[in-house]
Symmetry: C2
Subunit: 436 residues, 2 copies
């Protein structure tokens, strides 16, 4: 019986009586007539003109159902349709102190996120998130990967102890998963290529516009792949997501950032690949400087991690993402495989998004040799006995393998070119924000 | 180049030279010939006969690649195919102390879950889990629901404080989500019908074969639905999952429990609906007894919750699931809407699986009236100020709505008729188990 605005707003329906449900998005009361902008449950809006005597009590965000004739009026919003309301029924009259107005500080919008989700910006973000999830999965499903749900409550750290959230687990300590990687690695022996979209957690002590304490983590792992395979897989996944989004989510992209459509159309595969060595050469030639731990500034050199500024420098004039591979082993985690051709570097690869954005995905080939892995643990001050189950994977039938992880919020932030990652997240979690 | 056993094991390939990779599942060494059962990365197995001099070092779970001629031998496993190995290359010789043998206690299998995942039982469970996720999503996607990722780190309890896991969240306390329901409710105002498959957490202090501390929770919520709509949605979702699984996962079901196929074919919709009142009448007529908190046994009566035994009694002679609806308000959570026709009962509905299994899904219509909701909170000793953001949803444009939640592990345990829910879970978390 009830349809949505998007279904009814057609030339065919002009003159027909239609039924709609939704919320009062905007309201202008005159003596005889009241102008309502009605927003439905998918964020579409339409103008409705209602005899004022039928709707005296209405307030912003009140929930109503209306019945009326669909007419055309070029002055009306979104394509010039309007409803001449004959009947109105009210579900709920909203309190007059609705805290979200047209212009509101970012902090208020976050404090009342349960309400600011109803802004058209966040509705469009929500729809893009739905599409991102759907099109990510579609690729893995079509390519015959197995979806798994790795545990969130864990006792082993993947990314180092400093960003672990501690959980009181009955009489023990547990942590929230920073990455499913170690578990995905255990599954390649039984399910082959596997993937997941799971929440991951990082107790990031810095307040940045790039980090969330809880994020949506797409991760994949496969046996018997090498660096070339891994790079090709990432290219395919990301290009498939981008082409689907630019095809199916034009409306949302246009609303949120028209430039995004053009940007996505400029992406093509294969993406360029450069080594870390080459990256350092480029950065030194542009005199990229970094700050040491003791605060002194100096020219970047081989062995330094690529920080935000260096990633920006490498990507600012590009329209296509770029892979940087074969980093110094010393700046990468214990599980990265040593390059058989150069023992100083590891088979890690990061994907940097263009226009100065920086890392959206990281991965690599994993160390599959038990003794080398143990040595790397000791070098990075980890105790191999804390990882005994993980080491078993190398003890019993180890195989070459690799994988990658991609933060869906980071990808979306880049697509939309939003300043703050919180704005592509429905209920962001940061150092200072756990509510609502 | 490399394919899987399932792709190669065809009559067409008899006589061809094939390449396979995998692990030594079983091994029988003779003087001249060694009989290998090779297991590939999707758990299929094939017999391979290898000159013993080529494979002297092999052990159970060693990882190898073989090249050889595919032949037929009626004595061989899984369809009578075997490979006459010409070349073998070894990735890794597994240590001889591989802890998983053919007959192993449940505890050992759980202690070494990272290895026991390689048993064919767990591989088939893994494949069924992949299908359950896929076919659940497929229904919601086709029916135009929006997928969301609600936060896991929260400060409000949905299911009562006793099963909350506490997290040290920077300088605050937070909890792990027991259910996404409250967040899904906030999203129906902006995204309409929404759903998620997210991990949920319950600090269950009892050791049971029905409970996990972390489980895979399918939840859905929609605006403007009534009890009939809600029941129909659940029927459709579950029937769609069941029909897809029985069609596409015959092989896994046959391996794990042949009887499951017949059982799934006996399911048809609509499912029977009975009220709680009627359930109590039935249970009293069969003299169903329950134990009071003080330990005394007595006949079940109106106002008692349906425990395991009563759910078993109601479902033991059925082949179809059954909905039980309109429970006493006093035994249901604060958010359940009071039945307008009977103020003693609430619009809650549980779905009980047949053959004595019991609850797999629970849901209901939510209280949409602000004052009634606050009163219910006070009656259940909750402080409305702790839920102020949730109450805002009733203050600003409240609409009738409802939803449900379904534990995917419970559903799978019922489908497979497994005793222990841990056996349908890849890395189960219970009071005594957080590793591996």
């Amino acid at each position: 019986m009830f349809k949505r605005i998007a279904d009814l707003r057609t030339e065919d329906n002009i003159g027909s009586t239609i039924l709609l449900r939704g919320w009062i998005h905007r309201l202008r009361k005159q003596k005889e007539k009241t102008f309502i902008i009605l927003r439905d449950d998918r964020g579409d809006i339409i103008q409705a003109i209602c005899p004022s005597k039928l709707c005296e009590d209405l307030t912003i965000e009140s929930s109503i159902a209306i019945q009326g004739k669909l007419e055309k009026d070029p002055r009306a919003v979104e394509g010039g349709f309007e409803v001449k309301v004959g009947k109105i029924s009210i579900f709920n009259i909203a309190d007059v102190d609705y805290p979200i107005g047209e212009y509101q500080s970012d902090e208020i919008l976050l404090d009342f996120r349960h309400l600011s989700l109803r802004t058209r910006k966040m509705i469009n973000v929500g729809k893009l998130r739905n599409s991102l999830l759907k099109y990510s999965r579609e690729w893995f499903d079509k390519d015959n990967w197995m979806e798994v749900t790795p545990p969130i409550l864990v006792q082993s750290s993947v990314e180092g102890g400093s960003t672990l959230f501690e959980v009181k687990y009955f009489n023990e300590k547990a942590y929230l998963s920073q990455s499913s990687q170690l578990y995905l690695e255990s599954m390649i022996y039984c399910l082959g290529p596997v993937w997941t979209i799971s929440p991951s957690f990082r107790a990031e002590k810095s307040r940045t516009i790039r980090h969330l304490a809880e994020f949506t983590h797409l991760e994949a792992e496969a046996p018997w792949i090498d660096m070339n395979d891994l790079i090709t897989i990432q290219e395919k996944v990301i290009f498939s997501i981008i082409t689907q989004i630019r095809e199916h989510n034009k409306k949302e992209l246009e609303f949120l950032n028209t430039a995004a459509i053009k940007k996505l159309h400029e992406i093509s595969i294969p993406f360029e690949k450069i080594t870390y060595d080459r990256a350092i050469d480029i950065l030194r030639s542009t005199e990229c400087r970094i700050r040491d731990n003791d605060g002194k500034e100096r020219l970047i050199e081989w062995g330094d991690d690529l920080n935000l500024e260096s990633e920006r420098e490498l990507t600012k004039d590009r329209s296509n993402p770029i892979f940087v591979m074969n980093y110094p082993l010393s700046i990468k985690p214990f599980y990265v495989k040593q390059d058989p051709l150069n023992k100083m570097t590891g088979l890690a690869v990061d994907l940097l998004a263009p226009q100065g954005y920086g890392e959206i995905s990281g991965g690599g080939i994993r160390e599959d040799n038990l003794e080398k892995l143990k040595n790397r643990m000791r070098e990075t001050n980890l105790n191999p006995t804390d990882y005994s189950w993980y080491l078993d994977l190398r003890k019993y039938g180890s195989v070459p393998h690799g994988g990658f992880g991609l933060g869906l919020e980071r990808l979306l932030r880049w697509i939309l070119d939003f300043d703050d990652i919180k704005n592509v997240t429905l209920f962001p979690r940061t150092m200072t924000r756990i509510l609502p």
